[in-house]
Assembly symmetry: C2
Homo-oligomer: 318 residues x 2
């Protein structure tokens, strides 16, 4: 049976590291790390995710603000609002909850002639406040993959890295498969795994790759990271190599109201060497990684922290 890669101890370790940093920011710099989450429209899943981020900030003694905007806001107005929020010196981190409504995600498809789109909105976040790691400058640093020069790793990629490190999952030279091309989950994880941060050999799969080719790649994989989350997509035990490390970034609510990932969990956990549960795996670490990035942003603002991340294998020494 697989080792269950629970998120909880990883979250606890991240928070144990953050707490003295938050205290120090308050005591020595007179500042409290502050995150603004911008949500457009009231999609229930987004509302739930945003709620968790806000609660986590509050639990750690940080400030959080939830800005809820009407779903019919135009791209230019949203961009201006994000820029306005980002300009405040009391705000350290700005996150725009994705996905955005159709007219902003894809203005062409919705018939709009507006040349401003989602990426212009995201690029309005000041680079030193881009805690979700999505704006142009942050993306370029991920591409360049210099651990010591990173401003922000995207929260999900950082969560996967902290998870793999905590459980001592080796990546260098391993066959990794990353499924999906989302700009904020799979794509940064692919670049992180295959680039200089993790040195794995990555095969990148997505909707244009046939079932046969996907299965061929999965059957060889030492590490699978998947973030599809569609009802018609399921990775079964037969598709995987015994001993695989399975990291399930997807979350989807079934018709019966159950939260599941992309793995057919019970059978896969019988042959995997390690697997993240859903819920309770990557999800909570992603929130903790966002907290880590928000504290980083507050440290940047206070002149108390530099670029780069420090990674180490295994649980922290007491």
């Amino acid at each position: 049976m697989a080792v269950l890669l629970y998120g909880k101890p990883v979250v606890e370790e991240i928070e144990r590291r953050l707490m003295p940093e938050i205290d120090e920011l308050k005591a020595r710099h007179g500042t409290t790390p502050s995150l603004v989450v911008v949500q457009v429209g009231d999609d229930p899943a987004s509302t739930r995710y945003v709620g968790r981020k806000i609660q986590s900030c509050e639990r750690l003694g940080m400030r959080a603000q939830h800005v809820l905007l009407r779903s019919d806001i135009g791209p230019a107005a949203l961009r201006n609002e994000v820029a306005r929020i980002g300009a405040s010196k009391d705000v350290h981190g700005v996150l725009v909850q994705l996905p955005l409504p159709r007219q902003i995600e894809d203005p062409d498809a919705s018939g709009g002639a507006d040349p401003i789109d989602k990426f212009d909105v995201l690029d309005a976040i000041p680079p030193e406040k881009d805690v979700d790691g999505i704006a142009a400058g942050t993306v370029a640093e991920l591409y360049r993959a210099r651990t010591r020069r990173l401003t922000f790793l995207p929260s999900t990629a950082l969560a996967v890295k902290r998870l793999m490190d905590y459980y001592r999952i080796e990546t260098r030279g391993k066959r990794a498969v990353v499924i999906g091309r989302n700009d904020i989950t799979s794509k940064p994880i692919m670049l992180m795994l295959g680039g200089r941060i993790c040195d794995a050999s990555v095969t990148w799969l997505h909707r244009h790759v046939s079932k046969d080719i996907q299965e061929e790649a999965l059957a060889k994989a030492d590490i699978v990271v998947t973030a599809v989350g569609r009802a018609d997509y399921r990775i079964t035990r037969e598709m995987l190599k015994p001993g695989v490390v399975f990291i399930d970034v997807a979350t989807r609510v079934t018709e019966s109201g159950k939260l599941v990932g992309d793995a057919d969990f019970e059978p896969v956990s019988e042959i995997a060497s390690a697997i993240t549960p859903v819920p309770g795996g990557v999800g909570p670490i992603t929130v903790a990684a966002l907290m880590e990035n928000t504290v980083r942003a507050a440290r940047f603002a206070a002149g108390a922290g530099g670029l780069g991340y420090t990674f180490h294998q295994g649980p922290a020494q007491p």
Copy 2:
């Protein structure tokens, strides 16, 4: 026997498209496209490459300037020089010839305490003049992979795309292998092939991937793009699937003075369905792609051209 993917007809097609654009820039906008190539030190291979770029500009009636700097220049001085060149309104494109000397490529390794490195030098190129597609803003657009919003595709990636289009090589859903992690050749090609521009399934190989895993991936590949160029690296016929499309971006001069790529050319060409010769394959197209990007940059400056690239399959209709 493989179809030989000669660069010449692709170059001719690119140049036939550029010539009226250059004429129009001169006649209607009173401007001549102008490229500055900055070379640091006098490495003979770099000097040869730079020479070809300059000659190609001149042959097309464009302006070119070769700025040769001493090999012991410091990173800050080089960055300032690049910024100064980029600020001139008479300069449309700025290219910094890579690799740079050790003290700039990797200041830590050479014992320097200078926090400025290669990427800071490259980021001093104004985004609308970054004809090599290497500065932070340009890299982010490649990551996002929106064909209609690209400022500049890196010359080598653009060359590979124009080559594949000309010879009608399908990429969507194909198994592609990209070998190498160079920021200006393999990495952009990997992102282009696996992302929304080409929709292939990419396996990304590099020095940290064992020989076994590399061979396993190569044996399945429909398309191989390789850019290693080391004497101890050779891809042989036995390692490949019959019918493979082999795109050889590497160039290396052997002890006997012959220019070769990564493929064991003769035997590989007996089983491949298509292969680029070295010399005469990707190399000349890379120079033409740089010319295309320089004309783009001049059109941006004249207000005569917008973002995005247009791609089409097969030779252009007369």
